[in-house]
C-alpha cells in the first residue's frame, strides 16, 4: 500500500549552523503542522526504534504535516553535539525551525517535544508566536540533568553506586564531574531551603507553561512511572499551581502512564505515547473545526 504522505529531506539555517530534518507532507492536509523537538541523544532524526518517524507517519494519516529535525552536531545537522546539559537550552534552534516552517507556508503550528526537546519547547514557547497546541513527553524542568536525576534516586542507591566505582571511571573527568553534580544536587535538595532553590531554578519552565496557558494554548504533559522526571514534573505542576491553570484550558492535561521502564525502552510504551498524543490532538478545538469542514 502506498503511503498517504511524502517525505522530503531539508536543510534550513539555524542560529549558528545549518540544521537538517525531514518534512512529512500528507496528501490530505488539515493545514496544521507539528514541529517535533526531540532529546539530545545522538540518534538519527527517525528516533529510537523510528519513534519520531512513526509519529510523523501516524500524524500524516490524520492530516498533519510535520518536521523532525536534528540538533547541532546530531544526525545530518552541522556543528558539534553538546549533550543534554539543561543549563543551556536550544531555544534559538526552535525559533529557527518555526521561522523556516512559517516561511514555507506552514503558518498554523503545534509542537511535540520529548525530554530535552520538551524542555526546549517550553522555554522557547514565548518566542514562537501563536501555537495551536503543545504536547511534551517527560520534559525535565530543572536547570541540570544531574539535579533532576538526583531528586529521583535514594541515598542508598548513591552509596551503593559509590562502593561500585572503578578506578578507571574515576580517571574520567566527564564521568567524575557528572557524579559530583548528582551528589551536590541530592545534598542540596535535603538542606534547608533546598526545595525553594529547586523551585526557583525551574522558574523559566514555569513561565513558559504559564505563558502558553495565558494565551489559551492547550498543553499536554505526558510521562510514565519509570521516567527520570516523573516526580519532578508532579512537584513542578503542583508546587507552582499549574495543575489548576491547565484544567482551565481544555483539553490540557497531565498524564502519567503506568510503565516502569526507563526512557522509551518498551514497545507498548512507545505505542501508548503515539496513541495518547494522537487522541489528544483529535480533541483540540482547531482540529475538530478542520475535521468538521
Amino acid at each position: 500500500m502506498k503511503p498517504c504522505f511524502e517525505e522530503r529531506p531539508v536543510f534550513f539555517p539555524g542560529p549558528r549552523e545549518t540544521l537538517a530534518g525531514v518534512l512529512t507532507l500528507p496528501h490530505k492536509c488539515n493545514s496544521l503542522t507539528v514541529l517535533q523537538i526531540w532529546g539530545t541523544a545522538p540518534h538519527p532524526s527517525s528516533g529510537m526504534n523510528r519513534l519520531r518517524a512513526r509519529f510523523a507517519h501516524v500524524l500524516a494519516e490524520d492530516g498533519f504535516a510535520s518536521l523532525r529535525f536534528d540538533w547541532p552536531g546530531q544526525g545530518e545537522s552541522g556543528g558539534s553535539l553538546k549533550g543534554g546539559d539543561l543549563s543551556t537550552s536550544y531555544v534559538r534552534e526552535c525559533v529557527s525551525a518555526v521561522s523556516w516552517l512559517r516561511e514555507q507556508g506552514h503558518r498554523r503550528l503545534l509542537v511535540l517535544g520529548h525530554c530535552f526537546g520538551g524542555r526546549s519547547a517550553i522555554l522557547a514557547a514565548p518566542a514562537l508566536g501563536d501555537l495551536e497546541g503543545v504536547a511534551v513527553i517527560s520534559p525535565p524542568t530543572a536547570q541540570s540533568h544531574e539535579q533532576a536525576i538526583a531528586s529521583q534516586i535514594s541515598f542508598r542507591t548513591l552509596v551503593r553506586a559509590a562502593v561500585e566505582i572503578k578506578p578507571k571511571e574515576l580517571a574520567d573527568r566527564e564521568w567524575r564531574e557528572q557524579r559530583i553534580k548528582v551528589i551536590k544536587g541530592k545534598l542540596r535538595s535535603h538542606l534547608p531551603g533546598g526545595a525553594t532553590t529547586m523551585a526557583r531554578e525551574s522558574s523559566p519552565s514555569v513561565a513558559g507553561v504559564r505563558q502558553l496557558l495565558d494565551q489559551r494554548t492547550p498543553v499536554l504533559i505526558l510521562t510514565h512511572e519509570g521516567s527520570d522526571f516523573r516526580t519532578e514534573l508532579e512537584q513542578f505542576l503542583e508546587g507552582n499551581g499549574l495543575s489548576d491553570e491547565m484544567a482551565s484550558v481544555t483539553p490540557s492535561r497531565f498524564v502519567v502512564l503506568d510503565y516502569t521502564v526507563r526512557g522509551n525502552g518498551s514497545l507498548p510504551l512507545q505505542d501508548e505515547l503515539v496513541s495518547q498524543v494522537r487522541s489528544w490532538l483529535a480533541e483540540l478545538p482547531v482540529v475538530m473545526e478542520s475535521t468538521a469542514q
Binding site: 537538517a20 532524526s45 518517524a53 552541522g78 518498551s266 507498548p268 512507545q270
Partner: protein
Amino acid sequence: MTSNKTQRSDSTDEAKVAEWVDPGSGVVQRVEFLATPRGRVYVWSGSPPESTEAVLICSPISADFTANYHRERQLALALVSRGISVIRFHYLGEGNSEGESKDLTFSSICEDASEVFERVTSKLAPTKLAVFGTRIGVLVACAVTRLHPVPIVALWEPVGSPDRFFEEGGRSRRLSNLLRSAEGGERSWREELAHDGVLDLLGFSVYAPLVSSLDEIDVASLCLQPGGKVMVVDFGCAKKQVATWLAQQDPATNIEVLKIGVAEPWWFQDDHMRRGTDKVVAATADWLSRAFEEIAS
C-alpha cells in the same frame, strides 16, 4: 565547517534532494530519498571538491544502528575533511528510509547496500573505493565486496556468529529486568518471538524474518577475498565475536587489527554512547586515508 553556508532545498517529487555547500571548503553535503525498486532509501553523502576517493558506510541494524549513528557521522565528517567522499544510508525498514521494520532481512539490507553502492558510486565516479561496516554491517560490507571489487575494507567489531546476534539482546534484556526487579517472564526470546510475532528488545522491535535470515547466513560465503587492505577495530566489547570472525577468514587475507577500548554496551544505550568516539574515529580515518595513498603508490 563554517556556519555561513549556502543552501538549497530542491523538493520536487523526482528529486527529493536537499543539499548545502560549505563556501569555505566547497564540501557538498547532500541528503536524498533515493528511489530504488523496493522503496526510497535515505542517503547522505559528503563530497569534497575534486575528490577521487569514496567510502561507503554500511551501518549495523536494530539497537546498534542507533548506538553507532553518531560515530558514523563523525567518521564521515573526518574523512570528508581529509578530502574523501563518503556515503551513508539507512536500510529500507530502518531509520528514515521507507519500508516496514517487519520486512527487514539480511538479504534485503545487502540488496540496499549494493543498490546504493552502484547508484552513488556511478554518480560520484571515484577512482578508488573503500567499504566500511560495523557489527552486522561488517557482513553487509563483506557481501558488497563479493559483488563489487573493492580494494580497501575497514570494519568495527565484526559479528562472527550472526545467529547469536539477538542472543546478546535477549541477555541484555534479562539483565535489565533483573536490575529493575521487573518481571522477566518465563519464555525465552525465541519463544516470545514465535508466539507474538514481534520481540521487544529494550524498546527495539525485532521481527521473525530478520532473526531467521541471520540464522541462515552461511558465514563462509561472506569471507573477505584475499588481497587488498583490510583493517578491523576491536572495541574490546565483543571479543569472542571478533575472534570468531577473524578465525573464519582466509589466512592469506592480510588483516590489520587495531584494539581501541570503546565503552559501547551496544544493547544498553545510555550516556556511554559517545565515549571513545574521537579515538576510534581518528584512527579509522587515518588508516583509510593512508590506505588510499598506498593503493595509489
